[in-house]
């Protein structure tokens, strides 16, 4: 049985009560405990900073050449908090409500409420670190509204909020590196978890420069290793983002929750060439002022948009969802855009015979508030767009198309953010916790920082205080974990019939997942995809070709290992999607959509978190049933 260890009682006092019940580690005992943190994005860096400051010994690892380059750096739009500075009726309760509803009633109430509660403290913390959030002329912090909400609760730093928050966390972490309490290793990739007596006690790490493998032991291990949208090959994530850490954890006994809950973001730059390496997000904040439309008539699709008359434009989100219009949640917007393009009303370059794009038009807002103010708000995003496409969004409407962006699924964690493997914690995008079946804008940064600054430091202390830790440096499991990694690398380096590059397999996997397990899903197609990916897996291990040697900086080898894990994850994503006979949030099963294309949940049978357990080449489903005591599940309706 899965136990989430959720506290009970009034929602408002659950976290406080829980904090009181958690055991503490006395200050003088803290440096006797060593903690390993894998990943130093927002979640990991903020955790390292806080644990170091508390006095623990921390070892951290990231695969980039510096913690400052974690994928969090790319977040554009902003971070939510319930400060209610705009006096528009915001509150902890409202953010809690929006997040539960936005997630289509597939997240835990206690966790989400705690997140909303902690949001304000994050802003205080960031401002104190010198994060230069946008301000008004009065000197007060500025806010804007963001997809899926009707209040202005989003804090931002032009279009570079993630960068500024990460640099804040990185600087706080750097301070602890200087103090000697955090030892950080860059260009280091974790490839296995060391499990002893059912507890996570260490990791095997590959030094990406020398190719050397080393083992590191500790009292517990925390994974803050980000999301897995790159399973689709093309996504808005940085190229290095991968599932390897979470997948190794899964294979060591940590359950993987809701793997099919992946978010496809509506506003990305459409692909322009068939060999493209990644897709770029255009921040959702653009939907505050831009109007989305497509030509009403297919024959207009090739025209210059300026030549398409007002009455021949279909502002389809405004037409379909008058109340929320261009601000409907991401999944709703993405499906609508796909629907339009499937009808043949897309615009832009043809990729594999289809035009994948609709317009995002700023003419009205430029007329209304003037060019200068539009530039102040969106200048750097417009510039980014122009660089990529060679088109000027001030004069020609942008073209956008959905792209994989965020993974709500991830390692199953309880209220303490501990996985089903004792001593293994997961924070940030790597866990499944707070966003249900769909994440609202500006809430991932909030969650990563809440996990790292405020939740994990407390729950980890509790774990350390309640357990004893023998010295395990000589334990045979340490050597076995190392051998497992060596063996795997060997297989990757010496496939029997080496022919194809990691990219070759990754692109194939991406195409299968995008078609079968992307914006719309269907039983037969999912079943077929599972067979296709299984065949791809067999072919991969036969034909993967890695040149160079393993005891060296070898990016081909790095990629091969990550693709191998994505392939296995891909199968689980499809299985999960197949199992969930309903539509909810980002998971749209065509068999369960209303005639107008909206998700039809099945609360009777599927109001649960699907937590998958790995068992010797099979997987077993565990259901964590969700209880809604405070918000009655309703049909999400954005009309």
């Amino acid at each position: 049985m899965l136990n989430s260890f959720e506290p009970n009682g009034p929602l408002e006092s659950r976290w406080k009560k829980h904090l009181f019940d958690l055991a503490l580690v006395a200050p003088q005992n803290r440096d006797k405990h060593k903690i390993i943190v894998i990943g130093t994005g927002l979640a990991g860096a903020s955790l390292c900073a806080t644990l170091g400051e508390a006095g623990y010994r921390v070892s951290s690892f990231c695969f980039q050449d510096s913690p400052r380059r974690a994928h969090s750096i790319a977040a554009q739009g902003g971070i939510n908090a319930t400060k209610n500075y705009q006096n528009d009726g915001d509150s902890v309760w409202r953010l809690f409500y929006d997040t539960i509803k936005g997630g289509d009633f597939r997240a835990r109430e206690s966790n989400v409420y705690r997140l909303a509660e902690l949001s304000n403290n994050i802003i205080d913390q960031a401002v104190a670190q010198g994060v230069p959030f946008a301000r008004e002329y009065s000197g007060y912090l500025a806010n804007r509204s963001f997809g899926g909400t009707q209040v202005s609760r989003t804090f931002y730093a032009r279009g570079q909020t993630g960068q500024q928050l990460l640099l804040g966390a990185y600087s706080a972490m750097s301070r602890q590196v200087e103090s000697g309490r955090v030892t950080h290793h860059s260009r280091a990739e974790m490839l296995e978890i060391i499990t002893i007596d059912g507890k996570a006690r260490g990791v095997v790490v590959r030094d990406l420069v020398s190719g050397e493998l080393t083992t590191h032991t500790a009292d517990c291990v925390v994974l803050c290793t980000g999301g897995y949208s790159n399973a689709y090959y093309l996504s808005t994530n940085a190229k290095g983002c991968n599932t390897s850490a979470t997948w190794r954890a899964f294979k060591q006994g940590a359950f993987f929750a809701n793997p099919s809950f992946t978010q496809i973001h509506p506003t990305c730059v459409p692909p322009t060439v068939e060999n493209q390496s990644k897709l770029t997000l255009m921040s959702e904040s653009l939907r505050n002022d831009g109007r989305i439309w497509a030509p009403k008539k297919i024959e207009d699709c090739e025209k210059n948009p300026a030549d398409i008359k007002e009455q021949d434009r279909d502002y389809f989100l405004e037409r379909m969802y008058p109340a929320f219009a261009n601000l409907v949640p991401r999944d709703v917007a993405s499906r609508a855009v796909k629907h339009i393009c499937d009808e043949g009303r897309g615009v832009g370059a043809k990729i594999h015979g289809k035009r994948l794009g609709v317009y995002l038009d700023f003419t009205d807002v430029i007329n209304k508030i003037g060019l200068a103010e539009v530039e102040e708000k969106y200048g750097n995003l417009f510039e980014m767009y122009e660089r990529i496409t060679n088109e000027d969004p001030y004069t020609t409407p942008m073209k956008i198309y959905p792209a994989p962006h965020y993974s709500m699924g991830g390692l199953w964690v309880d209220y303490n953010l501990m996985t089903t493997l004792d001593g293994l914690f997961a924070g940030g995008e790597a866990n499944f916790s707070d966003h249900g079946a769909n994440r609202l804008g500006a809430s991932a940064l909030m969650q990563g920082l809440a996990d790292g600054y405020f939740i994990l430091p407390q729950t980890i202390a509790n774990y350390l205080a309640r357990n004893t830790f023998d010295n395990i440096d000589e334990h045979e499991q340490v050597q076995q974990a190392l051998d497992l990694v060596k063996d795997r690398i060997n297989k990757l380096m010496h496939a029997p019939d080496a022919q194809y590059s990691p990219e070759h397999f990754h692109q194939k996997l991406g195409k299968i997942l995008w078609d079968a397990c992307g914006m719309s899903r269907e039983q037969a197609r999912l079943a077929q995809a599972i067979d296709e990916i299984k065949a791809l897996e067999i072919e991969f291990w036969k034909k993967i070709k890695v040149t160079g040697v393993d005891k060296d900086l070898n990016q081909t080898l790095e990629r091969a290992g990550r693709v191998a894990d994505f392939i296995e994850l891909g199968i689980l994503m499809c299985k999960d999607a197949l199992n969930r006979e309903e539509s909810c949030g980002a998971h749209a099963r065509v068999e369960h959509l209303s005639p107008s294309g909206e998700a039809k949940r099945n609360d009777e049978e599927f109001s649960f978190v699907a937590a998958w357990e790995y068992q010797q080449d099979e997987v077993k489903l565990h259901e964590e049933h969700l209880h809604f005591e405070f918000i009655k599940p309703t049909v999400r309706n954005y009309k």
Binding site: R69, N121, Q129, P132, F454
Partner: protein
């Protein structure tokens, strides 16, 4: 399009490298510079050769990982642009391109086009922060920040730590990078208190890491992909008195 690429190949830090010439064809206008290198690497895999190593991650100009000197220009000739934001439409068909790593003794080459920039991390560790404890921050709006100062601080804070400023500087000085962090924090009331101490420690660390000092060549501002202004160096010098 077709390009002739002369690419710096170097096996390790200790073994000196050389340019190797490759031909790439079938390159689309909308292909990015790094995608062209991806394509070349795919060819190398087919031929059974070790791939060309270069740093990248975000591929949208924000992580600061990418770092190529193209025809003598860090991040290529286009202003305010990172290597990953270069598209081949900016180059004439059939041109020859010379591709090298950053060159500075404080950024030793690791392999091919990849260098070790951990010296930048150590400079930040020496003082590039506000010494605030987690959890003890006061209500954010209790300290108001004048909008202009906040905007200026933001501009300085957009440095991506790529190191192009060092790569282009005849003295291999890291002054633009260091001054950007010092300015960012100096312009905000939260960071102002530690100004002097912070600046001294960071400057000392810059010297210890082997970076030169600034003698006003001003190349750094020109190549900086984020348009970090030389005024930051002036401000830093003022703080140091």
């Amino acid at each position: 399009m077709i390009f002739t690429l002369h690419i710096w190949r170097q096996k390790t830090t200790d073994i000196s490298g050389d340019f190797v010439t490759y031909q790439v064809d079938n390159i689309d206008d909308d292909t990015s510079f790094l995608e062209m290198l991806d394509q070349l690497n795919e060819q190398l895999i087919t031929k059974g050769e070790d791939c060309i190593v270069f740093d990248y991650d975000c591929r949208e100009g924000i992580c600061g990982a990418c770092s190529l000197v193209i025809n003598g220009h860090p991040h290529g000739e286009k202003s305010a642009t990172t290597t990953c934001q270069l598209y081949m439409r900016e180059y004439k068909n059939q041109t020859e391109l010379w591709v090298e790593p950053w060159r500075a003794s404080s950024f030793p080459v690791i392999k091919d086009l990849t260098v070790d920039r951990s010296s930048f991390d150590r400079i930040i560790q020496s003082g590039g922060y506000v010494s605030v404890h987690t959890g003890l921050a006061p209500e954010a709006n209790n300290t108001l920040v004048e909008k202009h100062a906040s905007d200026e601080a933001f501009n300085a804070a957009t440095c991506i730590g790529c190191g192009a400023c060092v790569a282009v500087c005849p003295n291999a000085s890291a002054s633009l990078f260091v001054s950007a962090k010092i300015s960012h924090l100096a312009l905000l009331p939260q960071g102002e208190i530690e100004n002097e101490n912070r600046s001294r420690r960071m400057i000392k660390k810059m010297g210890d890491e082997g970076f030169g000092s600034c003698s006003n060549h001003r190349h750094c501002e020109r190549v900086c992909p984020k348009g970090i202004s030389l005024q930051n160096i002036t401000r830093m010098n003022r703080i140091l008195g």
